[in-house]
């Protein structure tokens, strides 16, 4: 569950199975560990019950069946003190109880606060972990889910919870594959920053299903993930046949490869994605805690130029975090934020900033308590690749034109996440990954997410209320209206600057077949891939 980034989620998808999983091809959630989508029962006007059945064939590697107890344990583990699960807690807080039935161990009902539209998908979108492996004595059963959710951070430590947290963290830290899963693959070899090798379990429970749903297909006997930080090296590896699939290939490499003679042996895929390149301001910093200053700084980003330079124009500009391809939810009445340094000057003056008389003196203003604030920024971004470097350089150059110094801080991927969490930045550039199903922004924009997933530290009573209303919306039309309002609010408050949605580019060897490519992360399904059979030699 401790998943620092998308790559970790992709790897975990091979080891674990959720109740429901999205289908890349038709962009819909479908049953995976569950037999079907949950049966929804609305109780009064503030509760809903979602009834699930786990597939009877679903089993752990030791043959023990996956039961409702495992689901209950997994949900409780999310709220177990001592585990850094803040994002999961904010995402699954709406589930208040798991009702199990001793007579039907694979049937259970989730009791949810509210009657939101997206509960169907959200309630089944987490990996199920085995209770027997982590909590063989069932110590977590002493606590109800609500008890754990309401447990104060100042509550006296419980030895059972502490030892459980330690056991789980020890399993995670020792070996990523040590956490047992009911997924189709096992992590057999790995080396940090080099490679991961997954081998298919010889007897996986889903093999007994007829037909095997696409979400549960596991055709390759072995999957090797090679970590190649350098685009040129990865391209060379693809040309030489050392790798079969190159996902998230940079635009220029994609174009160059497509025009090269090597293209004859490759298939090229390009789809839309839900990954938005954006900048975020640290609103906890005194000089960035007002919307006018953030709006002014937003105008230093040349999103159109950056889209052309880094993606060769392929991708979509956006007004917010909702993709323009989601036409019913995208707020097309908002204007795109222009690249407008002159307009930024006017906004800065409105925000109370005054430019010094001599070049190099920068901008200053007096705060409410009389302190002199200086407008200077430290911009943090991931060091790898040229996308973020180009955005950072462009912003720095535009700001320098108005005498605003920007210090660039390219940061290694792991350190980048911890720096954002620690609030060690003024501005950051990154990618936010989304999907078309769930719009629960609590982890990333709600006050509950501050010091966890809410990296900008932005929140207000109005935005909190709107986020809660979106998460609890009971109809598509209502949710769409709220989402449009939320996009307008974010543009007004400008804690983030969404620049453009990235395309999903994948290049694969022509020797592969059954490669499903789509807009949902991770952009393709590795588990359905097969190699084209070699023609048998003539007798």
């Amino acid at each position: 569950m401790l998943q620092p980034n998308q790559a970790a989620i992709d790897a975990n998808n091979l080891l674990h199975v959720c109740l429901l999983q999205p289908d890349i091809a038709n962009r819909k959630y479908g049953p995976a560990l569950a037999t079907s989508l949950p049966a929804v029962e609305l109780v009064g006007d503030s509760l809903s019950k979602l009834a699930y059945d786990i597939r009877p064939t679903a089993a752990w590697d030791n043959g023990r069946p996956v039961t409702a107890r495992d689901v209950e344990f997994t949900l409780k583990l999310m709220f177990c003190p001592g585990l850094p699960n803040e994002v999961a807690r904010n995402r699954y807080r709406f589930i208040r109880a798991v009702l199990t039935d001793l007579k039907a161990p694979q049937h259970f009902t989730l009791v949810c606060r509210g009657q939101a539209l997206e509960y169907v998908e959200a309630s089944g979108d987490f990996f199920i972990l085995p209770e027997a492996a982590f909590d063989p004595r069932g110590q977590l059963r002493r606590f109800s889910l609500v008890d754990l959710q309401k447990r104060a951070t100042t509550a006296p430590p419980d030895s059972a919870l502490q030892s459980l947290a330690q056991r789980y963290q020890a399993a995670e830290a020792g070996h990523p594959g040590q956490v047992p899963g009911c997924g189709p693959y096992q992590l057999v070899k790995w080396e940090k920053d080099r490679y991961l090798t997954f081998r298919r379990k010889p007897q996986w429970w889903a093999d007994r299903l007829q037909p095997v749903p696409i979400a549960l297909q596991a055709r390759p006997k072995q999957l090797d993930y090679v970590i190649i930080p350098d685009a040129a090296t990865a391209t060379l590896a693809l040309r030489r046949g050392d790798i079969d699939v190159y996902p998230q290939i940079p635009a220029r490499e994609f174009a160059r490869l497509r025009a090269s003679p090597a293209a004859a042996a490759l298939n090229f895929y390009s789809t839309t994605s839900y990954d938005v390149v954006m900048a975020g301001f640290n609103t906890r910093r005194a000089h960035l805690n007002d919307a006018l200053t953030r709006q002014a700084l937003s105008r230093f980003f040349d999103a159109a130029g950056l889209l052309k330079a880094t993606q060769l124009g392929d991708g979509q500009r956006t007004v917010g975090v909702i993709s323009p391809i989601e036409k019913e939810n995208y707020n097309d009445s908002l204007a795109l934020i222009p690249f407008d340094p002159a307009g930024a000057t006017a906004l800065l003056r409105q925000a109370g900033w005054q430019r010094g008389p001599a070049p190099g003196t920068g901008w200053t203003r007096k705060s409410a308590n009389g302190d002199l604030q200086q407008l200077r920024l430290a911009m943090r971004y991931r060091a790898e690749g040229s996308l973020f470097s180009t955005v950072a350089l462009q912003f720095q150059a535009a700001a320098a034109g108005l005498d605003i110094p920007v210090t660039l801080q390219p940061t290694e991927s792991g350190a980048f996440s911890s720096s954002l969490k620690a609030g060690d930045f003024d501005v950051y550039v990154g990618v936010r990954k989304g999907n078309p199903f769930m719009f629960n922004f609590t982890p990333v924009f709600h006050s509950l997410g501050i010091d966890a997933g809410n990296t900008t530290g932005f929140s207000s009573p109005a935005s909190d209320q709107l986020i809660e209303a979106i998460a609890a919306a009971d109809s598509k039309t209502h949710r769409s209206q709220l989402l449009r309002r939320f996009q307008a609010l974010l543009q007004q408050e400008a804690p983030i600057v969404p620049l453009f949605f990235l395309p999903n580019r994948i290049v694969a060897s022509r020797q592969l077949t059954n490669l499903h490519v789509g807009s949902l992360k991770p952009g393709f399904m590795a588990t359905t891939i097969e190699r084209v059979p070699k023609p048998s030699a003539a007798p």
Binding site: A232, T233, R252, D302, K308, A309, A383, A397, P410
Partner: protein
Amino acid sequence: MLWLGLVGLTALLAAALPLPYAPGVPDLAHVAEPPFGAGAHWLGTDALGRDVLSMLVFGARTAVLLTLPAAVLSTLLGALAGGAAGFWGNKARLAVPYWLLAGAGAWWAVRFPGVGVGLAVAAISLGWLFTSWWRKRELASWPVPVNSVVMGAATTLDTIPRLVLVVAVTAGTGVSVSGLLVLLTLTSWPHSARLVRAQMLRVRTLPFVEAAQAVGAPAYKVWLHHALPHALQPLRTALPLSIAGLLGLESTLSFLGIGLPPDVASWGRLMATVRSEPGAWWTFLFPTMCLIISMISLSSISQYRPSAASS
């Protein structure tokens, strides 16, 4: 010499040169543009849209303003340390109050708990010194193993490859330009120290040094005015090679992306951009040529002998 003069002049005048583009400003309409293509980028642009010519010019400034001071400072540090080690060996002695003062200073620098203890030791030392001066008493002294300390430090530094040491320090925390200057200086002095020490071991036995000691000149004056100037001769050859070594080290660090801040132009950083745009040969060729010619020129200077040239 002509090339090095040109590089030096370019470095000095970089900010005043009428370059069409600033070095750190990406031209988003012309990314990875070849030389003499659209957009008046005479030597093309790199993978981020930065003008190659501007980066070469400002990279020359970085090379001169970073490696020259670092080489001079490290040579100076090495000369003083090696000169002292060669002249005094392990026979120098230092009055006890000075030892105590040094200890108090170290206490303060290392920030040991109890600042008062350090201050008290410093006060006692100063009182001791004043009393001795007042009563014209000779102070007790302890030996200072200058040679062992200097050669031990140099050997310790030499045991770790310089690139590894600098990479380890810079990659962990990141450094500013001034920080990198200090780091290069502190890791580059052993070679100069060894050369000067070896020369000093010969010079200190020469008659004119013995004569100066015989007339009662203080040891530090004999060292500074008589012995050291003669012991510095090997540095005439070593300094250009030290600059070349530091130029290569700075370029390597920048190529690896762990040296200078990302907005400081550098030949090594420009060379590194070819990794994200392998077809942009111009981002590799031009800085490599600058680096090679500079290295060869510095090597030629180190071999230059004025007497041979005049004969």
